[in-house]
């Protein structure tokens, strides 16, 4: 056992405390470095840009509903109903797209050996999670201030759990995407388009429970629909979402993360050699 962190162990043995100490330092430096690169001084509008697209979608859909003289199928506020659908879905879309960055093509060439790929990935993931949570807080806070009392969740813990569950799916999908993108470059172009179709299959502007049973049965295979329902249940105490389960969201998320990490570990040398 090493007497102090960082000491060279006799005989070149491997010490977990030294490793952990170095790993934390490495993670911390990677986190702040990445934060500086993506959302800091070098990209002034970075944080704002993270929330601009979902906000735009919410406003456009709300305008569309107003022009068609229609009201959203649940709740008193159309903005709240659309917001509770758009933000979890965009949490998934943006996470699955942005997680490609830390594992990107040739990324290892510009990193120090100490910056292990998994740590770069986790620091990016944490950073993205924090950013997006701020974006969500700003949107629902603004909605509350503007007079929509229901914008404060009925069950805040459930809201946090739901958004984290959705984030887990996005994180796992992001790792898989990163590897697929390096193996098949066309995937990098296809995925942003594919991911946005999730908007239409995840209950953004409809309530899944009101759909015909057969349609609903197939749509519920999409874990994002369960994620959206889960998030809405935090805002609407009687939201009809008995058909979808939080466990399914977590299970899919964990499965994707596991598959992604295994894929990354097993293709690392191959991809680096290929590139």
């Amino acid at each position: 056992m090493a007497s102090r962190p960082g000491a060279i162990p006799p005989g070149g043995a491997r010490y977990w405390d030294v490793a952990l100490f170095n790993a934390i330092n490495s993670f911390r430096s990677i986190f702040w470095h990445e934060a500086d690169m993506h959302h800091g001084r070098r990209l002034m509008m970075g944080y704002l840009a993270a929330g601009a697209e979902p906000l735009f979608i919410v406003l456009v859909l709300n305008l569309l509903f107003t022009m068609l003289a229609r009201h959203t199928p649940y709740g008193r506020s159309s903005l709240l109903f659309l917001g509770t659908g758009v933000y979890p879905i965009y949490m998934f879309i943006h996470t699955s797209i942005r997680m490609r960055s830390p594992l990107g093509r040739g990324k290892y060439r510009v990193q120090f050996p100490m910056e292990r790929p998994l740590f770069v990935l986790f620091s990016n993931a944490l950073q993205h999670y924090i950013t997006y949570m701020c974006v969500i807080l700003v949107f629902f806070g603004a909605l509350y201030i503007s007079g929509v009392d229901d914008a404060i969740p009925y069950d805040p813990v459930r809201a946090l759990e739901a958004i984290t569950g959705v984030y887990l799916i996005g994180f796992g999908a992001g790792i898989v995407n990163a590897i697929f993108g390096r193996m098949f470059p066309v995937w990098d172009l296809a995925w942003p388009a594919i991911s946005r179709t999730v908007l239409h299959f995840s209950g953004l502007y409809y309530v899944a429970a009101y759909l015909p049973p057969t349609t609903r049965y197939y749509l519920l295979f999409n874990p994002m629909l369960s994620g959206t329902n889960w998030f809405r249940m935090a805002f609407y105490p009687f939201y009809p979402a008995a058909h979808s389960g939080a466990q399914y969201v977590i299970f899919c998320g964990m499965g994707l993360v596991t598959f992604g990490l295994l894929l990354e570990a097993n293709t690392r040398q191959y991809l680096e050699a290929k590139e």
Partner: protein, 465 residues
């Protein structure tokens, strides 16, 4: 003695003495040792490569390699590595390997073993009773509610339209079923606490002396109630630790649900009747008040009805008397001027006639009439008309209120809602939960995922030493 680059014994190529003095082969032949009695197949570990080499990417950690060899003591060049007096490595701590083993045991093996023991040896069987129903509105009520339009199914249902579900009341019933209130009601009816305390498994049982909150939380775990707005149907599943209990709970729950529907129905009907009764009572009181006011006015004005014929005749008499008196007064004035004697017999007769007419008019006025053109008569007639109009309106309102009350009472006698149970609870014959193999599979997959993710993170951390 042959030594390698780092000054350690190379081991397996050159036989050597443990002390470095005599050849090993020679010692083997003269000094039988304990190892000669050991099994022929033995295992020994290859010497380590230096750390710098073993850390190269793709290098195999030689300290982990195990080589199996069949020792041949008489073979030339035979060497047993245990004879080598290599420098000891007391500071060598295989923390990584140990950690990996611990992580594997904790994250993968332990959940599987614990889960398997619990599921197959401890977890009690659960019997599931299912029932399906819908809160319906009868045909007649539906027809009354939707008299404006006829649907496509109206022909099938005799022009009344199909009986429909009431989504709000369906939601109410399913929400009630999964509520703590339902648990309390059931507990009072079938002793839910005793039923849920039957298993010996402390993780499954409700627990001794549970609070109402604990009972409600536990109940939500044991019941599933859902209303499907798309089909208008509700499904309820009740779990219990015996088939009889499951059936008893489900049957009681169905009865309680019907009570809830009836109470919703009764309450709304009672509200409607109460409201109609209130309207009618107010109308009756208004009519009575106006009638009393009119009676009082009649007594005060001595006029029964100013529009009636007798009153008109009285008024005509007064009018004629007044007219005659005017003529007499004019004649009296003329006679006084002509005769110049106020005591003339004609004047006295005329004066008496005028006095008589004046008394007659005064009497008529005192009896409630009024002289034509006097404002009092107009006021009397106006006031009378006002009271009469108000009374007529109040009577009309009273009549409407009476009709509404009658209709509400009739509606109250008919059932507006009813619980249509199309899948009745039936006593289960075999337990349906827990699904042990499926649960084991989920534990296996989940544990594997946790193990892999932890292992990946651990590897990344250990790459920083």
């Amino acid at each position: 003695m042959a030594k390698d680059y780092w000054g350690r014994g190379t081991g397996f190529l050159t036989p050597r003495d443990p002390d470095g003095d005599a050849p090993a082969a020679e010692r083997l032949s003269t000094e039988p040792t304990a190892r000669d009695a050991k099994p022929k197949r033995s295992t020994f570990t290859l010497p380590r490569l230096p750390q710098a080499l073993s850390r190269q990417k793709g290098a195999v950690a030689l300290d982990e390699l195990k080589v199996t060899a069949r020792p041949k003591a008489d073979a030339p060049g035979y060497f047993d590595a245990r004879d080598a007096r290599q420098p000891a490595f007391p500071e060598l701590v295989r923390t990584v390997d140990f950690g990996r083993k611990v992580w594997f045991a904790v994250s993968f093996v332990a959940p599987l073993v614990i889960g398997g023991i619990y599921l197959f040896l401890i977890a009690p069987d659960e019997y599931v009773t299912e029932m399906r129903f819908s809160v319906r509105v009868p045909i007649s009520a539906h027809a009354a509610n939707n008299s404006a339009g006829a649907g496509s199914f109206d022909v099938v249902y005799g022009g009344n339209g199909p009986p429909t579900t009431d989504p709000l009341d369906n939601f109410t019933v399913t929400d009630y079923i999964s509520s703590a209130q339902a648990a309390r009601d059931l507990d009072a009816k079938v002793n839910l606490r005793a039923m849920f305390n039957k298993p010996s498994d402390p993780l499954s049982k409700l627990g001794e002396h549970p609070t109402a909150e604990r009972l409600g939380k536990y109940w939500r775990k044991m019941v599933y109630a859902n209303f499907d707005p798309a089909t208008g149907l509700a499904v309820v599943r009740v779990n219990a630790y015996s088939a009889a209990d499951s059936f008893a709970i489900a049957s009681s729950l169905l009865s309680l649900s019907a009570d809830v529907v009836n109470s919703i129905d009764t309450q709304s009907q009672q509200d409607s009747v109460r409201y109609a009764q209130g309207q009618y009572d107010r109308a009756v009181a208004r009519v009575a008040g106006l009638r009393a006011e009119l009676e009082s006015f009649r007594l005060k004005s001595n006029v029964v009805n100013p529009e009636r014929a007798e009153v008109s005749e009285d008024l005509q008499i007064v009018d004629q008397a007044d007219h005659l008196r005017s003529q007499d007064l004019a004649q009296l004035d003329m006679l006084k001027k002509q005769l110049g004697n106020p005591q003339a017999p004609q004047i006295l007769v005329l004066q008496k006639q005028i006095d008589g007419l004046t008394k007659q008019i005064a009497a008529a006025r005192a009896s409630g009439g009024a002289l034509p053109g006097e404002p009092r008569m107009a006021i009397t007639v106006g006031r009378f008309e006002d009271l009469t109009t108000k009374l007529n309106q109040a009577v009309s309102v009273q009549s409407s209120a009476l009709q509404a009350l009658s209709e509400e009472k009739t509606a109250a006698q008919a059932q507006r809602l009813y619980l249509a149970t199309y899948v009745h609870p039936s006593k289960p014959e075999a337990p349906l939960a827990p699904q042990r193999w499926l649960d084991m599979l989920l534990i296996l997959v989940s544990a594997a995922m946790v193990w892999v993710i932890g292992r990946m993170i651990g590897n990344s951390i250990m790459e920083h030493d």
